[in-house]
């Protein structure tokens, strides 16, 4: 991308609209949070929240703090650990269920009974089952992505246009060719969608799991992950840091989704044309 194009992108109308909206939001928040000082009357809700300027100051103090970044690192590690495991097990499982009726008949009812159990309901059980807290958190994040990925892959692979299969068969494709060259690419868009949704769920789950289990094997404090960071800020009474933690999770989730979107775009170039 040339510099000019880059500049055009930043100062495009859409980007400007976004920036203006964020600035207005921050101003309202700042005024609301300082309402008691400014008007002698505390606004409901906003009056209880620390103002964005204080949050920024608190954040600036944390930027140089390795334990803050350690929280990022731990949460990312758990999210991607659970997520990658969910992909490695979920994608083949979904595909296999789609192509093998016997296996589908055997496994799908069990799957459907387990699926509605929220991942967080697994927290106590998984703390008991797994030898370390780290593994139990990873297992719960894994569950968050797993069901969504399997359901999407299964749905995608089962709804392949039958005529693709017939055309390939007529042209002499073997069963393996049909799986590799037709079923797999035809299912890719569903895999990408399932992964994107699954990624969102893993962030929801990891934060809650970190709060409940007390931040994993390191026993809290540094290394507890962003969920534990928020929890300990709450316990420690630093409301600015709670907001910093929340925004950090927002940014982390956005970065993960963007990474996935980019990877998905590279894997399914034909969808860009639609």
């Amino acid at each position: 991308m040339s510099l000019k194009k880059f500049a055009d992108k930043i100062f495009s109308r859409a980007a400007l609209r976004g920036i203006v909206a964020i600035v207005i939001f921050l101003i309202i928040w700042e005024i609301g949070a300082r309402s008691e000082q400014l008007f002698g009357y505390r606004f409901p809700f906003l009056g209880l929240v620390p103002p964005p300027s204080d949050v920024l100051v608190s954040w600036a103090g944390l930027i140089g703090d390795p334990s803050y970044w350690q929280s990022w690192y731990m949460s990312f590690l758990r999210v991607f650990g659970g997520f990658i495991a969910a992909m490695l097990i979920g994608i083949p499982l979904g595909l296999f269920m789609a192509v093998n009726k016997t296996f589908y008949g055997m496994y799908f009812p069990t799957f459907e009974i387990l699926r509605p159990i929220p991942p967080l309901a697994w927290v106590p059980a998984s703390i008991i089952f797994w030898p370390t807290q780290e593994l139990s958190i990873a297992f719960v994040t894994f569950l968050g992505a797993f069901y969504t990925i399997v359901i999407n892959v299964l749905g995608g692979a089962r709804s392949i246009n039958k005529q693709f299969l017939q055309a390939a068969q007529s042209m002499g494709a073997s069963q393996w060719d049909i799986f590799r060259r037709i079923v797999l690419p035809a299912t890719l868009p569903s895999i990408v969608v399932g992964s994107a949704v699954g990624m969102g769920i893993t962030w929801e789950v990891v934060v809650a799991a970190e709060m409940i289990s007390g931040g994993g094997s390191s026993g809290g404090g540094a290394g507890g992950g962003l969920g534990f960071f928020i929890w300990s800020s709450y316990v420690g009474g630093s409301y600015e840091q709670i907001i910093v933690g929340m925004i950090s999770i927002g940014i982390a989730g956005y970065l993960s989704s963007e990474l996935l979107r980019q990877a998905g775009g590279l894997l399914t170039p034909w969808l860009k044309t639609r």
Partner: protein, 289 residues
């Protein structure tokens, strides 16, 4: 104008084509979902000489596609037999034909693989057959695309080109397999009439260059008469040949044929039969509803 009218003798079918004759003999297909037997094809016999463009005309949902699927080997028949060049495709002992690259279907809604570029789509069949080297296949594919006016779209995905061009890509993909028979399942149904007329001429051009037999399903009479050597007008469900109309307009044809007197004569001859069947199909539909 008179030249066309006077030439009453049907032009003999493309004589240089010696392969791809089809003999559909007393074929019956009964669908039996949940014990409610529905007859889709009723004792249907059609003989198609090699190299003919045979147009199967009938109202929507009359079971024409069932017949096509039986030839392609996508499903079985209940009784009867289908031979290609004297060899059994399906019949007693083997009620479902083996799908093969000698019979390629051009589908109603198109079945180009959206994740492959046009060039890769066209190369797919020969790549699967594995008889030629990759470079030979791609060279042939590029030449065929150029011949069909598809140069410049090699690296586009099917979703990036117009529906008319997509149809052309699909026909080229079919031809790359050196099929004996091309099976068309109302491929131009979704196209507007202007694009259609261009596609018809393009199809004939492809036909004149490639020696194939064409089994073409349609409910568009104008399309049927313009393209075909022969129209087999089918009765409404169950599907059975009702009337055969010879189109004795000589090939090669172009669009001027459409305004000829002979064309109009054949049209009025066929229209009565088709209308009657369409009315029957409509009435049957009314009753079901």
């Amino acid at each position: 104008m008179t030249a066309v009218v006077e030439q009453r003798m049907a032009e003999p079918v493309n004589e240089s084509v010696t392969k791809g004759s089809l003999r559909i003999d007393d074929v019956v297909k009964i669908y039996d979902p949940d014990g409610a037997a529905v007859m889709a094809v009723d004792h249907c016999s059609i003989d198609i000489p090699a190299g003919e463009i045979c147009m199967i005309v009938g109202p929507s949902g009359c079971g024409k596609t069932t017949l096509l699927n039986a030839i392609a080997g996508f499903h079985d028949i209940t009784s009867g037999s289908i031979h290609m060049d004297g060899e059994l495709l399906c019949g007693p002992g083997q009620m479902q034909a083996e799908p093969g690259s000698d019979r390629i279907v051009v589908f109603q809604n198109g079945a180009l693989f959206p994740w492959k570029t046009n060039l890769d789509n066209i190369a797919f069949g020969p790549m699967m057959a594995g008889k030629l080297s990759k470079s030979e296949i791609y060279e042939k594919a590029r030449t065929m695309m150029a011949d069909a006016g598809l140069s410049g779209t090699e690296n586009n995905y099917p979703g990036e080109i117009s529906s008319g061009l997509r149809r052309r890509v699909e026909i080229v993909r079919a031809l790359m397999n050196d099929p004996k028979v091309l099976l068309f399942d109302e491929p131009y149904r979704a196209l507007d009439s202007l694009t259609k007329s261009v596609m018809h001429e393009a199809l004939l051009e492809i036909y004149y260059r490639n020696k194939v037999t064409i089994f073409f399903i349609t409910h568009d009479l104008e399309e049927a008469i313009f393209l075909g050597h022969r129209l087999i007008i089918m009765s409404s469900r169950p599907c059975k040949p009702k009337k055969i109309v010879e189109v004795d307009i000589p090939h090669p044809r172009d669009y001027s044929v459409l305004t000829s007197a002979r064309f109009r004569e054949i049209m009025s001859e066929a229209k009565g039969v088709v209308h009657e069947e369409a009315q029957k199909a409509f009435d049957a539909g009314e009753k079901e509803g």
